[in-house]
Symmetry: C2
Subunit: 728 residues, 2 copies
Amino acid sequence: MDSNLFKKGGFTLPGEAGYEDLTLKLAKKWGADVIRDSDGTQLSDKIITSDYDIYSTICLVRADNEWAKANRDKLQQCYIMSFPIAATSDVVQIDLLKGFSKEQLQVNEDDNPYEWWQVFDRTSGEEVPKAQWQYSKKSGIVIIKDARKWHRYTVNFLAYRIWEEISAYNHITNDWGDKEHLMPIEPMYEEAQEKILAYLERWLQEHPHTKVVRFTSMFYNFWWLWGDDPNRKFIVNDWGAYDFAVSSFAIREFEKVKGYRLTSEDFIHNGLYNNSYLPPSDKYRDWMNFIIDFVTDFGKKCIELVHKYHKKAYVFYNDHWIGIEPTLERFKEFKFDGIIDGIFNGFETRKVAGTKHVATKELRLHPYLFPTGVNGAGTFIEGGNPTLETKTYWMDIRRALLRESVDRIGFGGYLHLVEGHPDFVEYVEALATEFRMLRELHKDDRPYTSNFKVAILTAWGNMRAWGCRGHFNHGNYYNEVMESISGLPVEVEFISFKDVLEKGIDSHTKVIINAGSLDDAWSGGWNWQNPKVIEILSEWIWQGGGFIGIGEPSANKSGNQYFRLSHILGVDREYGLTIGFDKYKYAPLKTSHFILGDIKEDLDLGKYTDNVFALDCDTQVLADEDKSVQIATHTFGKGRSVYLAGHKYSSDNVRLLHRAIYWSAHSEEAFSHWLCSNIHTECAYYPNHNSLAVINNSFEKQKTVVKSPDGTFIEIELNPCESKILEL
Amino acid sequence: MDSNLFKKGGFTLPGEAGYEDLTLKLAKKWGADVIRDSDGTQLSDKIITSDYDIYSTICLVRADNEWAKANRDKLQQCYIMSFPIAATSDVVQIDLLKGFSKEQLQVNEDDNPYEWWQVFDRTSGEEVPKAQWQYSKKSGIVIIKDARKWHRYTVNFLAYRIWEEISAYNHITNDWGDKEHLMPIEPMYEEAQEKILAYLERWLQEHPHTKVVRFTSMFYNFWWLWGDDPNRKFIVNDWGAYDFAVSSFAIREFEKVKGYRLTSEDFIHNGLYNNSYLPPSDKYRDWMNFIIDFVTDFGKKCIELVHKYHKKAYVFYNDHWIGIEPTLERFKEFKFDGIIDGIFNGFETRKVAGTKHVATKELRLHPYLFPTGVNGAGTFIEGGNPTLETKTYWMDIRRALLRESVDRIGFGGYLHLVEGHPDFVEYVEALATEFRMLRELHKDDRPYTSNFKVAILTAWGNMRAWGCRGHFNHGNYYNEVMESISGLPVEVEFISFKDVLEKGIDSHTKVIINAGSLDDAWSGGWNWQNPKVIEILSEWIWQGGGFIGIGEPSANKSGNQYFRLSHILGVDREYGLTIGFDKYKYAPLKTSHFILGDIKEDLDLGKYTDNVFALDCDTQVLADEDKSVQIATHTFGKGRSVYLAGHKYSSDNVRLLHRAIYWSAHSEEAFSHWLCSNIHTECAYYPNHNSLAVINNSFEKQKTVVKSPDGTFIEIELNPCESKILEL
């Protein structure tokens, strides 16, 4: 492939007014075909009228701050549980917003507290009768009478959100000083919808040069509560939680549709809220569906309007993405033309790449062209190394792109910040070319992939496919596995317990992975109490299915196993109540095993589950540490299971997982097809192009040998981080 | 003190027929005043008629094997849950004894299975109706019809115990070959009682030279199920569990007394049984009390008989000790003259030393004069080092003896085994002298001790004072703390949640320690769900009490804290469902803190609880590891709390705990009284003797300085393991 043919296209550049020359210079150098604005930047006429397509960002719920200020009772809301206060007498005073950011939140006093709020004695678990407490508007304090001394009390209350979170984040990160705080309006009110549609129409008229309207995103941001203490800047941050779609109005509407009323405690749930780590309850699923219905219905109208003006509508798979759920079939109703996400790694790449019902998929790469990154560390300011950062992310992204491609990449932020970083400017040019070449391989082609499916089983299933609670949740077994598998040549699907119960296991599925911790949504929590789940999975495994359990698979304390599939996995966990029971004295396997075929150095599974024991001599222990099983295999009927005490995304473990998949699928023979001998390298073969893409995932030079299914050996040398495309 | 004055007395030697000269020679050398037999050894006439007092062991329930053989329906029993079998069709066959030692157990077919047994579907948690299963006597198999495929089934059944466990252990360890297996008889039958009393009387008549009848022990052994696989020799081993007192007869008697019937599942409890790690339920307490009543009532009769023959009755605080419970007030009803226990360490020493209502307390030291030890490692055979072993145990025992003394020490086993170990023979002589000198200091005296009490709070309280599940349960927070505190100059008491609820906190108590793990008896488990417990403890701490939480103190998942006293401790634990919640960014304390005053090297708390976070700025974090709090202090009203993420018995940690106790008691000033500067040394001051005992707990030479309350400094040098007594 001639790289000169891949110098332009599929690249979105953030333009910046005042830096017109730089914008146009870099657009050319990086081969951009699109220039976009960002939150906080403008595009000047010179840019807008240049020869590039223009993307313009729009965030409808914070777009009209005048209307928001004039309609403060129509701001977005959320339920909050006050921090618990222990009663030191029979009167307890709870300052509702203590600990929370008063710049973000304001107590909602418009909806009758005695109808909407609940006060709980969290020590006894009982609700405090309404007659026993009083809210003082003046002080923002709830006073509880006849409190039980030493019990801890909390108040569930409604709060308005008075500073739209993403805007607030950009405001603070980029030091916008006294720039007005934008407030998010609740689009469920008809007046708000009228305002929004009118605003959008006017905006469309005023942006004749805009080709793509980039929604950032629809209406409700993911859940992100802020604190008032510099040592606890954020209270909670959950990309998947629907808490910011809660309002008194929505709850009333929900009641009309679903026929029952949700209480504050349905949302607060003893302080756990309905966070992504909890297996969703039926009530919560109802609520999500209700919000999805609304977002789809009203979202459609916005997109129709965009189309009416012959523009395209792209959606940002983040920020106000709640209710969009691109993995669901309903997503097609929006009629979006494209989807964009700001991503760091492989599984996020697959999240975008796997989106159906959009013509264009775009990755916004990191780092953002901001002085500092999400965690506050320097990026484009002194101390940052944006080139190294970009390379690091890109290597993880690239392996996912080998498997499934996207159409575009791009950056966001303040373009002028790159000026002091000539190496970054050069590297992005090379990266863009590399991206285009890899993308080309996917045209009318599909890389060599396993002829069977691997299903990842969680309580969320497809709804949190290639997603967990946000960006990479390190140490979370599910997330680590997703990242590893995002670059493997296997077909992956995400299934839920509901899927298993309603549809059984797809006939193309040969391996099921369950990776998570006790009670969490990733392992499955209470779903494992359902005997039907055990029955279906047992039958399927017995008939020859492969099951890989990672961390605390099938863990639930309801039965007399800790892992409810311990008899299938061959291992269980000592959780502290059966210390007196002697455990079977296993002997770790001395001979080699297919799964360990590429483990050269010490095994490092990362954070792992300890106190795991083998049940009996039928369990083959492949590795252990501190007398706790790390890797074990077991058979159940014709089925094979693999237990891994942990998983951490690393070259070693990616290969280990790859082998575990093929072993449990009884497909050892097919494993070596189009496989790199060197675990720091990976490859993909594209049959229609008869081309092989080989990547070096390390910062060192690597030699590798790829074996084709016909037995030919192909030797490749790669520079650090390099990729090569070989036409065979 | 002149060591020559301490060459004789308080020492029990195991004699051995055939080795009369050795017996008498060592009796002299070691200053024995008593010669005993052991299980498997005899004393010859030459020994019996020598000038020594004679202790003779007797174990009544295995004493008359002829009667046992003739009355196999009156053997002791127990409930067993068969190993679970997953149904692969609608018929399940369960071989009841599969996995269990058939030398130990035999299915009880005399009591109607359909009345006494229960079959459970452990997958659904439901009992299988009696009509659905059948027991085949011929095969020992239960067949379940209409099983639900893939569900796991178990049978709760009654088994006779056909090889008395301690005898079996001695048999196997000492290779007794085809010596007849002794069977334990159930003493609750009147016929059995008559037989036992008659046997005892005859035995007393036949042992005119015996001065002390050493009961080994009363009737029911602690719970010890054996397996049939060399890789799982034991199924379970729990020194505190009453499962071997279970029989059909006892359950019927229980029903008469308590008015309700216990089911098999009351004992099996979903496979957890009623093991010591579980907080005892009311039903289980009823059962224990019922057994205690019986053991006391019938035990009294045996002891009366001994007294009738003008002999003394000592009891072994182990083996068949179930129902004796020496920490309970009822224990005095037995009228035992002495108590003996085979011990390894400090807390076991305190267990014996603290026994009330007996004139004589004796420690049987380890190692046992057996070829191998409890774990199968060599002792007196090649590869063993009995001197080093003895020294190691003795150093831990000695520090406890500084605080509370016993009357005697001794050994057990086969004396001839010491012949190849002259260094052992010498060392025991020195040890015996050292013991007598230390014992002397306690005469009419009490060492300097804290003027306040430290209460250790568990679900068991006093009933498992200085005891956990057997010997040292390493890694168990409660056990590690007990061992450390066993040698500290503080007054210790053990309290239960029941005590707290019924009696409140004793006015002399200044510090409460709660050390354990989620749901276990040591932390307290479900007891923490009781708001009354929270109320009483909160009030007490608020008024100035000290609270030390170790590991997972007050842990319970019922509330919206994981540690139900997190607001008092200032820390809580992330247990995997609130990962999305940001934690307060604490800064570990930079300045010195009283508690850390002696930590010179890296902190090593042993196995510790991870993912512990500080609540807010009121929590003082003294140490952390991997961003998890290891040590924190917090105040609550006038009270002080200390959190320790773990505790491992070591010189460093003993001192850390000592300081934590004094700090939380607001008694920092008194801390340095009679304290060794060097943490590898400890001392005790005996005011009436005006003497100071100083011990070196290490295998290295040590220098140390002791500060007396009047400010005098005393410098001492100690050889490895040495102790010195200074008359001041």
